[in-house]
Subunit: 549 residues, 2 copies
Amino acid sequence: MNLSSQRKATASSESLQRIFTVPEDSHSTLNIIEQKLSEDLAGFLGDNIVAKETSLANIETNFKAFKIPELPQFVSDYTDSMMANLVAHSVHTAAPTFIGHMTSALPYFVLPLTKLMAGLNQNLVKIETSKAFTPLERQVLGMMHHLIYDLDESFYQSKMHSSVHSLGAFCSGGTVANMTALWAARNKLLKPEADFEGVTQEGIVAALRHYKYDDLAIMTSERGHYSLSKAADLLGIGRQNIISIETDEHNKVNVALMHQKATELQEKNIKVMAIVGVAGTTETGNIDPLTELAQLAREIGCHFHVDAAWGGASLLSKKYRHLLAGIELADSVTIDAHKQMYVPMGAGMVLFKDPSFSQSITHHAEYILRKGSKDLGRQTLEGSRPGMALLVHACLQIIGLNGYEILINNSIEKTHFFANKIKAHSEFELITEPELCILTYRYVPHKIQLALSDAIEQGNTYRVEQINKSLDLLTKYIQKHQREHGKSFVSRTRISPVKYQRNPTVVFRTVLANPLTTENILLKILEEQVEIAKLDTISLPQLMCLIDA
Amino acid sequence: MNLSSQRKATASSESLQRIFTVPEDSHSTLNIIEQKLSEDLAGFLGDNIVAKETSLANIETNFKAFKIPELPQFVSDYTDSMMANLVAHSVHTAAPTFIGHMTSALPYFVLPLTKLMAGLNQNLVKIETSKAFTPLERQVLGMMHHLIYDLDESFYQSKMHSSVHSLGAFCSGGTVANMTALWAARNKLLKPEADFEGVTQEGIVAALRHYKYDDLAIMTSERGHYSLSKAADLLGIGRQNIISIETDEHNKVNVALMHQKATELQEKNIKVMAIVGVAGTTETGNIDPLTELAQLAREIGCHFHVDAAWGGASLLSKKYRHLLAGIELADSVTIDAHKQMYVPMGAGMVLFKDPSFSQSITHHAEYILRKGSKDLGRQTLEGSRPGMALLVHACLQIIGLNGYEILINNSIEKTHFFANKIKAHSEFELITEPELCILTYRYVPHKIQLALSDAIEQGNTYRVEQINKSLDLLTKYIQKHQREHGKSFVSRTRISPVKYQRNPTVVFRTVLANPLTTENILLKILEEQVEIAKLDTISLPQLMCLIDA
């Protein structure tokens, strides 16, 4: 604790009035920090976040107090303590060498606009507290809808600002977006009919009784995001009723298998309420065969949702949007702007092909959300929420399609460059080929690669497993130590490659969406990994023993 | 469109690199706006938001384009257009004369901190992308938990930062907070047992079959927030199974009635999964008898949740926290920091008495949310989300308990002042007495008041209804015109006062949480309403006819 924090602030009506009206002077700590943020965000983060990792236990010591302090604190003292205890130990998500997350460097203009958004403090739940932000949000949803569905002008002119329609919903992130889509799909399927007032009024038990289904199911790829199970839990469907279908060697769902499963479910009188296609799996970035999934959904009469939380931004590239072909057949689509659209955290969206779709979740309340009003809160899962749409709006206008074309293409092409370098490198193994800008790989000493190939050729699965288990430890070792060194960061995950009999295999995972990540940085990251591997005095010798045995 | 927006920006790799690295110079439009925001937020909002209301249709004309623009736009041009089209028509939620919303003026320091939060761009879903923000968030939850439950030091020392415990969850707002609590309550009730794997795995239909219940229900006050019905819909329970219990003349739920209803439900084999107490109803600010509700919940063996989204902040006042007595008996509590805690939009919280409670909604995923990790995302409804906890943390430290004591007490006492002025005024009728800082009232010309009293005394309910219907029109007229004039704003709602046979009655509603709202402002608002009433050439003459008839 520094000296200044010993100063005593006092609370009085006057001092409190001041904090609501008079900012600190321009030489105050907080003001200086703000200026640095404005002048050079990357420099600020680089200077103030400590590179070398501190243990979580250490960080926690500064957040042990559990009583709200009695006495107020001076803003400058608070700022000092947060610079030392919070900022210093934050994760440098914007660093070009941190290629393991879905976060990136941000365009600098989003910072002052975030401040403007907070200052205006609009609440998007109802028009009375958002006014101009409501049409702005509707416009962003319209633009994203058009990006996906490309309907004609008259459609957007009549629906985009219509009080009885909704082209989608803003939400805090992809999880809530997926939940919203599945919620609306469930309610549309189990809609009111004759004496039955609908699942929304009567609940699932009554709904299944009325419609004479024994159960509900949602089919998706085994690579589907965990938010889908969470949604199934929340919606009362149950996690077991998320039917995970195996993927092929390119991590794309096997549609034939899904078809077969659909028949089985039908025979058991279990109604498939939705098929969820994945457009950009979180772990490998691959895209399901969306056109075929849409066809299957049509055949069995169910909702078709596409979770493009990560990959959806690729639609902004004319060159690569063909990778998502079929997305325009989806009934609903999730896209996160805080992933590849370069907006800060908290900007999820779900788009609805049919502007009447969300009527199945429409609700009203007396003092708010009046029928016929343009209150966005009538058709969102969340209630009060901030005007994040401004930041998406700004990026769309200031970066423009031309700008996104360059950004998205660069990311994808940089990933292909990296994949080629990994493949050409004698000590690395590319595990999944990139389709968008995610790939997975691992470090495998050349000798081990040869031994592994031999074992596979000989059909010696025991030996393959043995080697892979040791390689898992090595991969974990490298990933952990690289993170702790603080220069660069790749994430790690476990996937089940077809070539290894679908045995779970630990891999490095990189996400190359940061425009500031250069090819040179990527090469350096490989070099660092080679160096770290040499330090592993357990797994590596074990591996060598294995192949000498 | 101003001249400068005709300029053409171009997209190139270089220009894009610049927007990720080089801010505009200090004389740029955006920079100047930022400075004004910092120097004088109130002045900025007052100068740039146009007072006189523009029609929504007019505002929408600037948000008609539905195609993402091809060409990028200069930041300054974009900023100019947003100042004219967005900021100018935003709602001045911070104005001391706008007393109809739950938004308030903000302490100035939250603006630079919001910018810092966006710049750090942490993702609280997992420790890997939040690090120091995770302990900070846990600390805020610990402090709020302590504020409600006041458990001993050893409890907080062992549970606050424990990877297998959780004292609560941050979320975008009260709606998601309520949903989270009810989700966890449902899952805990319908937990795994013998061969049954729990509602989380198998869904509601299987769960009710296993536990041999015919249905589930949630009991709450008729003044319960609409998010409770939304949660019942989402969770597959059905809106009809929210059992709304009548309130007394002080808008407090009738516990005896609830008790009776509980017995009826039990006889029908419908399991009450939760009782929800309201601590600060959205429309009138009244608090349910929480101790009695807790007692009833214990008797019938159900979860007891308190929705204190609005009123929870009153716990920060030693003088008035007794109004919420019994809240410490709740199993879970919702509190919104973006309401009376002076944090910008997007800061909801739910607190759990039992730190193991949220295990019923715990989930894992491979590449993320590993078992035993301190990843907050394992126990939240939302996935990726921003570090809003920083702003709550800052307010708690910088304002302190002493500061909140003054703020909360002033709000409540200002509301009592206003209530007294309304009661003393011959042309106004106080409809609900304030308990916290919300009250409702309406304008009723003195003659009409007398006529109404007579009609009530005579038991002439037809006449009472007739007069009240015309008064409804008058109240709507005044509220609408006052809003349109743009000087001040009270909201309006419809409530069912006992004294008017529970007929829905339109009223003005004021929320007096803005520390900058003075007593003088309140008197001026009444004066303005008297003036506006005189302009009503339809309802007022009608009313006069009624009493002359």
